[in-house]
């Protein structure tokens, strides 16, 4: 095996362009599990750890730009993220334990494309945009379109995630992050939800954004329920109907962690609780 250790973004993109079969590596928290089990033997590794410019979090008036190599610890401590994206802070605090949060990166979480990626429901409701770079140039992909299936992204050969841009949302009337797992730490979720709700002065819904993780091959926004509640008052009947629409946007399965039935019931209850709760 050989290890490529670029020192700058330009060098990383050039090396990856020439070695598109290499495995890009950030915090290594997921890769090493497979490596220790003998996978990836003989592969060339593109170790991005020294590309410092991709580990920064920058703020403008309208958006935050989180470098792909920013760790979950860094994201939790950043004052801009704490102020504007509290759901992302909460999600990053539930990734593994402290040891994993100190190493794992947001870009690595996305590139890994697990159906249970903890940062995904918040990024979905914040309507993040992923900046992708290669030796040939750059492109932006809406977060909702970045996944191509379980453990698959739309990244092409030679393309790396450079940063995640998140527009600063207006202050929501209600917000929610909830991860449901077997225990509080070190657990992979059975289901998890992120919600943002804006109410108009007259109490009707001006906008709902609600995303679910571990409920489909990749994170899902509840497009049907979101559209249904728009402009309506959150009466018992409206909430009941929104919850009934939830299953049209997800495809939960039975696996080692949970059952489709449990996942659906808990997710519906979380949505109902979120829509019912007074401020």
């Amino acid at each position: 095996m050989s290890v490529l250790r670029p020192r700058s973004a330009a060098e990383a993109l050039r090396l990856y362009g020439r070695n598109p079969g290499a495995v890009p590596l950030a915090g290594a928290t997921d890769f090493m599990v497979g490596w220790n089990a003998g996978q990836a033997n003989g592969r060339t590794i593109l170790d991005l750890a020294a590309v410092a410019s991709w580990a920064q979090i920058r703020a403008t008036r309208s958006a935050l730009s989180i470098g792909a190599l920013a760790t979950h610890t860094q994201i939790q401590r950043d004052r801009h993220v704490r102020r504007h994206l509290p759901l992302l802070v909460e999600a990053c605090a539930t990734v593994g334990g402290l040891q994993i949060q100190n190493r794992g990166t947001l870009g690595g979480n996305i590139a890994n494309a697990s159906p249970a990626g903890d940062s995904f429901p918040p990024l979905a409701v914040y309507e993040a945009v992923v900046e992708i770079a290669s030796a040939r140039g750059r492109r932006r992909v809406a977060f909702g379109s970045i996944f191509a299936g379980v453990k698959k992204t739309v990244l092409g050969p030679g393309e790396l995630i450079e940063a995640i841009h998140v527009p600063i949302p207006r202050t929501p009337s209600r917000q929610l992050w909830r991860k449901v797992g077997t225990r509080a730490a070190q657990a992979i979720s059975k289901t998890m939800v992120a919600g943002l709700l804006w109410l108009a002065r007259d109490g009707t819904v001006s906008e709902l954004r609600f995303a679910l993780g571990s409920m489909a091959p990749s994170v899902r926004r509840l497009t049907k329920a979101e559209a249904f509640v728009k402009g309506k008052r959150l009466t018992r009947e409206v909430i009941h109907e929104a919850c009934a629409l939830l299953k049209q946007d997800v495809a939960p399965i039975d696996d080692i962690r949970s059952t489709a039935e449990y996942r659906l019931a808990v997710s519906e209850n979380l949505l109902a609780g979120f829509l019912t709760r007074q401020r």
């Binding site: 095996m1 290890v3 090493m32 220790n36 403008t60 994993i100 190493r103 509080a184």
Partner: protein
């Protein structure tokens, strides 16, 4: 630039160390097998249990998930850096007094994670301590005693720091502050 297996340099417990083996050797194996620092234990080998926790540039990490090439040029601290049997550090003494160790397999990792917390000025709030130690599993489930140990260490350390502060001391050496770096322009 292609860098194959070169000689890697790291700092382990304050001493410079060189390693010439494969760059994807686990840091855990370099510590235990190359350097003979067998205080660090392997539990699960997949980042779930925290038994192999060491500090990398002062922060807890799982040494089973770190290819040694990613530790090059960085500071590593293991349980051997804390104290000796004749002279335990404040956290080790607290674990001993409070019954924080049972079978012992999780103890070195537990100590290192807790040490980063105690040294960093962490509070004696049990909820905060439990959050901090969430990545360290104890198979004996002796969590209550472990949390008590950390609380006790936080308190003893505060007392000894306060004593130091109130004790008469020599005039501090004034060091000139390095010139402030120009602030990055914010767009």
């Amino acid at each position: 630039m292609r860098r194959r297996t070169g000689l890697l340099e790291l700092r382990v417990n304050g001493k410079p160390v060189r390693f010439g083996g494969p760059p994807f050797t686990r840091l855990l194996d370099v510590l235990r097998e190359e350097l003979g620092l067998t205080g660090t234990k392997e539990g699960c080998g997949e980042g779930e249990c925290g038994a192999c926790s060491v500090l990398l540039d002062g922060r807890p990490v799982n040494s089973c998930l770190i290819p040694v090439c990613q530790a090059a040029g960085r500071r590593i601290e293991t349980v051997e850096s804390l104290g000796t049997p004749a002279s335990l550090n404040v956290l080790q003494q607290a674990f001993l007094n409070q019954g924080g160790a049972q079978c012992g397999i999780c103890t070195p990792g537990m100590l290192m994670t807790a040490w980063a917390y105690v040294r960093g000025g962490g509070s004696s709030d049990p909820a905060a301590i439990r959050r901090e130690l969430a990545g360290n599993l104890c198979r004996c489930t002796g969590y209550q005693h472990i949390v008590n140990s950390v609380i006790s260490a936080v308190r003893s350390r505060r007392r000894s720091l306060a004593k130091k502060r109130s004790a008469p001391k020599r005039a501090p050496v004034r060091r000139r502050r390095p010139a402030a770096r120009p602030r990055a322009r914010r767009r």
